[in-house]
Symmetry: C2
């Protein structure tokens, strides 16, 4: 019996530049089409960390060389990254489907996602983007009103806020596609972050976490499952210690206990588990799965991965 | 009685940089929503000349500064331009609709358009893109395998082929949206140009004329009308001469006669009239309209513009 599944691809499913991306999406497409071939209805969401960073650098360089072009805001860079990634992704999914004799339509919906201007994340920009800078360059960037941070001893980077998603502006179109049996690629890079001002949507200087955006998408589409792909097959506790333990299942209560114990790495496994828990608690019967891309099919049939449910 | 209308926006409806675009789309949105308010079903297509040029320059600059990033092909630049333009356009349409108490969904579909690798246009790259270069820079670009051309005494520019559109890859999704009463923004910049190689679609080093792509979209959606917006209210013959004549109507036969007489400027009015004629001849009852953006509503009710029909 087919399930409705939202699948959240991480940056490592997409590569760091164009040739890497074109290779990575082929592999990614096979894993996704495996699920579609099993009869599941799949909606694809994805991150954009390296890509939006690259576009931000390209557009910043342009504005330095040609004053006619002001700095492109993060919202615009994210919109461009949805085009950059969606093109390769819809192309490779289409090809993989056709290679298996399947004729489902695939398309990318340019997606805006509302954030709350009072989200505390705006007071604490935490997401590093773009290239590394010297301390002097970082100071100059700070003087121009941007937040900067030292990134794990590797140099300074610009950083932006990562507020929580509140609503998906283009949800009706995504739902229409999914209901028609089509494969939608949506909320790319967590969605273009926008703030509601009456009927106007203003672009926000932020990047939305793609796991939380995918979770919201899964809720709004009334999905059965949310698959969050990552670099490990299962969530672990006591990671790297003698008593390390891989988890087959995780309840919201257990997850909160592990979080309180500091078992889940902030900026890495923690937001994935939090998004998974939010989905599992949003309605009885909903299940989140955290696993490797190549284990998605086995995971959804209960053979591996960490399954999070009430 | 509402019509199904494909509207093709020119570059002048979008501005040359981000602040210009954000201002231009508001004005553009009002003219489009005027049509929707009259009960018409509208699909929006648009050009991307200045925008894809800007993105091409930004990505070229990036690849020069960071060898990790190879030159982005035109297909990728067009995909990014669909994100860049679609974001502002869907946003401004949504806002204008809400301001009038209308709740239609609006979204941009990332669109690939197939071209024929044997299209003679590939032998004669004719569409200038990107910034102006000196003759020496142009020579260097030519040595790297790119076509270049001298552009109307203003300097040298890179140029790419402008092949005819053959099919719209994401047509099913666009049709699903339109049938559901939603406003689709599609085939931006004429669509991402791709060549079919078995099940694979390979990006083409080309830019598809947006009027021909819009025409194909109108045919495939079985639209009643195709509106091609331009900088004049009507098509003229003997333009600028004492016997100049503005045309209220134009038949395919008349259009071919004027074309043979050299009355229609190549690269400007000629492709618009050719696209209009192709649509008018594709099925009895279909009408194309060439007019100004702000006259679209009056044009569709027969009050102005040049109406092209069999």
């Amino acid at each position: 019996m087919g399930k409705r599944i939202v699948i959240a691809l991480g940056g490592n499913a997409l590569g760091n530049n164009l040739p890497e991306q074109m290779a990575a999406v082929k592999y990614t497409a096979r894993a996704i089409v495996d699920l579609i071939e099993e009869g599941h209805q799949v909606v694809v969401a994805h991150g954009n960390g390296p890509q939006v960073g690259m576009i931000n650098v390209a557009m910043t360089t342009l504005s330095r060389e040609d004053p006619k072009h002001p700095m492109a805001p993060m919202s615009v860079c994210t919109a461009m990254s949805q085009g950059y990634i969606g093109y390769d992704l819809q192309n490779s999914l289409r090809e993989e489907l056709l290679n298996r004799g399947m004729h489902e339509s695939v398309a990318t919906i340019l997606t805006q996602v509302e954030v709350n201007p009072n989200d505390p994340a705006f007071q604490h920009p935490s997401k590093p983007i773009g290239t590394f800078m010297t301390e002097e360059e970082a100071e100059e960037m700070r003087r121009r009103g941007n937040a900067v941070m030292e990134d794990a001893g590797r140099g300074w980077r610009r950083c932006v806020a990562s507020p929580k998603p509140v609503s998906i502006i283009e949800i009706e179109t995504i739902r229409t596609m999914v209901d028609a049996g089509q494969i939608a690629i949506a909320v790319g890079g967590g969605g273009i972050p926008v703030i509601r001002e009456g009927n106007h949507l203003r672009g926000a200087g932020a990047v939305i976490d793609k796991d939380f955006a995918s979770e919201l998408l899964a809720e709004e589409l009334d999905a059965d499952s949310l698959i969050i792909l990552t670099a490990v097959e299962k969530v672990a506790v006591n990671f790297g210690k003698p008593n390390q333990q891989w988890l087959d299942t995780l309840t919201p209560e257990q997850a909160r206990k592990y979080e309180a114990e500091g078992q889940l790495a902030p900026g890495s496994m923690l937001p994935k588990v939090q998004a998974a828990v939010k989905f599992a608690e949003s309605k009885p019967g909903r299940t989140a799965l955290i696993t490797l891309l190549e284990k998605a099919k086995d995971g959804i049939s209960g053979k591996t991965g960490t399954s999070i449910r009430q």
